[in-house]
């Protein structure tokens, strides 16, 4: 997705066009019908989420008696119980650690490799780019069976490393594809100026490239974070001990363990989506900005 969107933004970055920002460029004003349709669509998007969150405030008796009703009275017991369980916090911690390490790894490794691909001319550059790009054709689904065996023989089962390393590897293709145009768009005059001022290629990298490519880096980082936070298949294969579970596996285990306790499952589920939603709403502007906006340099 970002190939399409990052490229125009790179063009804008090089000064061909000043973006007006996401707000000012709509065509036409919306009539009442526009509002109705828009709110209806948003309602449909949010209804299942609302069902989960609100359902957590009900008791099982309420849910059985009236499956689609509202809480009456509102109960916080389910949420309190989940928040009091050490397993929830343990799994939350696992998810946070895995997501942060994945993001860090993707950003650091991806930025360095993209810099080489974007701004060094050397024999084999095209081949290296194609290798990374080819990675887009290999989703984790294809590699998961041998990957599981490899992780097992490396002794990394149930460990953060067994989770994070493959996640970094599989995020690299997208990262490289997004960052290379960003790094290419940095005007060569800046590099010349830095060179005249005595900066080496590496100095240029740390002092100019890293700050200038920040919007791209943020986009890539967020994508990696969210992918890791939500990842299911790899943890399913790698983690088989409840204390090493990340939240998605935790939710599933909880749902099957307490399948009769619907209200508590709903509470556990809604609590586990809060971090991702908070993270997303914090960085929403950066995401859309990174996809559509401009490098301010």
């Amino acid at each position: 997705m970002a190939t399409v969107t990052a490229a125009p933004s790179a063009a804008r970055a090089s000064g061909t066009r000043t973006p007006k920002g996401p707000r000012g460029s709509g065509t036409g004003k919306g009539g009442p019908l526009t509002y109705v349709v828009a709110y209806l669509f948003v309602g449909l998007c949010l209804a299942p989420i609302a069902y989960i969150v609100v359902g957590g405030f009900r008791t099982n008796a309420q849910i059985t008696a009236d499956p689609s009703g509202l809480p009456d009275p509102w109960q916080v017991a389910n949420y309190v119980e989940v928040l009091g369980s050490s397993l929830f916090w343990q799994q939350l911690g696992n998810s946070v650690v895995a997501a942060l390490l994945t993001t860090l790894g993707v950003v650091v490794l991806g930025l360095m490799a993209s810099f080489v691909l974007a701004r060094y001319a050397f024999f084999g550059r095209a081949a290296m780019y194609s290798l990374f790009a080819a990675g887009l054709m290999f989703p984790m689904t294809v590699a998961i069976t041998p990957l599981y065996i490899m992780i097992r023989s490396l002794g990394l089962m149930n460990s953060v490393g067994g989770l994070v390393l493959p996640q970094i590897a599989f995020a690299l293709p997208t990262t490289v594809i997004i960052l290379v145009p960003f790094l290419r768009a940095i005007p060569r005059e800046i590099e010349e100026a830095a060179s005249i001022d005595g900066a080496s290629r590496l100095g240029f990298f740390f002092r100019m490239v890293v700050p200038l490519s920040l919007p791209g880096v943020v986009t890539v980082g967020i994508l990696a974070f969210v992918a890791s936070w939500n990842s299911y298949m790899l943890p399913l294969f790698i983690l088989n001990d409840e204390t090493s579970y990340t939240l998605p596996l935790g939710v599933q285990a909880f749902a099957s363990q307490y399948s009769v306790d619907t209200a508590r499952v709903l509470a556990f589920t809604s609590l586990s989506m809060i971090p991702a939603l908070v993270f997303f709403s914090l960085f929403e502007r950066r995401i859309v900005g990174g996809l559509t906006g401009a490098v301010k340099g």
Binding site: T3, L46, Y120, A126, F132, A133, G135
Partner: protein, 345 residues
């Protein structure tokens, strides 16, 4: 996103970027072949320094990528020729037997059909709706930025949460059927998850709900790239709003639409999480929602047949590759100039 895009970008790179890359040498634009950019002031020494820089910068990413992506994929191709339970090195070479079994297995063929159904119907359902919503949200309406965030929420929420929530909601005595009954539509209340005639449509509904926000955001980003002046010019020429959208906006949105369609197709082919979470490996087959990926996990690792599972992975890959190449050949090729390389100076 595909190999092909990568290659097209790459094919364009020597001519478009070499001048930039060689900026350090002060040589300006030369022949469009990637020659190592030597820096005159360092002489022959600079070449080695540059190689060291390349190795230090690109090395770690390459090592991680090759170890955890390329090697496993190659191993899958290798294991696929063996009958192997996953312990010790594979020894029982069976040639193409695994592949013959796959294509004779009615269960796999059914899974393949489900994938095909989802590929087509996801495009048909999500595409028009997402374009409509994106056009709507591109107008000046109050609370637009909030709406944009909310539309994206289903995409951000994890598959497990979506799966858990929907299985509870869509249970026979769940909220959806209860709601239909209250509205006097009890004839519409069906067994959403277990009825083989209905389940695949339910799956389609859930997928569409989950991923349509992504399409909307992508299209909105594409719409932002279309200069407002074009719409104004069309309006001056007497075009109505709808005509402007149809003849000006939509064609210009073409590249974004085609990339989205590609991502959607590949995603549908490799669908695993939602099916496995909601239906599980056994029910998915009987409810008619199994996909190639759930088939692979059920008949591979879960039954200890690692050779067979790897062979299924190879088939899954080849099917995706074939679709990607055909798509690239007939649909994406027209975009490779404009959408993918046009942005780079």
């Amino acid at each position: 996103m595909s190999v092909s895009q990568g290659m097209s970008q790459d094919a364009a790179s020597p001519s478009t970027t070499t001048p930039e890359d060689r900026a350090g040498s002060g040589g300006g634009a030369g022949a469009p072949t990637p020659v190592p950019a030597e820096r005159p002031r360092r002489g022959g020494h600079g070449r080695w320094a540059q190689r060291a820089e390349i190795a230090v910068l690109a090395g770690p990413a390459l090592v991680v990528f090759v170890t955890f992506v390329i090697v496993p994929v190659l191993m899958a191709a290798y294991y696929g020729f063996f009958k192997w339970k996953g312990f010790g090195p594979p020894t029982e070479f069976v040639g193409f037997e695994n592949y013959l079994i796959i294509f004779r297995d009615a269960e796999f063929l059914a899974a393949l059909q489900h994938n095909a159904f989802l590929v087509v119907m996801s495009l048909v359902v999500q595409g028009p709706v997402a374009v409509g919503v994106a056009l709507l949200l591109n107008r000046r309406i109050r609370g637009r930025s909030v709406i944009r965030v909310l539309v994206f929420v289903p995409y951000v929420v994890s598959e497990v949460i979506v799966g858990t929530g929907f299985s509870l909601m869509l249970a026979t005595n769940g909220a959806v059927n209860d709601l239909l009954e209250k509205m006097g539509l009890s004839f519409l209340a069906v067994d959403w998850l277990a009825d083989p005639d209905v389940a695949i449509w339910t799956l389609l509904l859930i997928i569409s709900w989950k991923y349509i926000g992504f399409a909307v955001i992508l299209f909105l980003a594409g719409l932002q790239g279309i200069p407002e002046e074009l719409g104004e010019a069309a309006a001056i020429d007497g075009a109505t709003y709808w005509k402007t959208q149809r003849y000006v906006t939509l064609p210009l949105l073409g590249p974004t639409l085609r990339i989205w369609a590609f991502l959607s197709i590949i995603g549908s082919l490799q669908l695993f999480d939602l099916v496995y979470i909601i239906w599980g490996q056994y029910v998915a087959a009987t409810a008619g929602t199994s996909t190639m990926a759930t088939y692979m996990v059920a008949n591979g690792r879960n039954s200890g047949n690692f050779g067979y599972g790897s062979a299924v992975a190879v088939v899954l890959f080849l099917v995706s590759l074939a679709v990607a190449l055909v798509y690239q050949r007939f649909v994406l090729r027209r975009d490779t100039e404009g959408a993918l390389t046009g942005g780079k100076k």
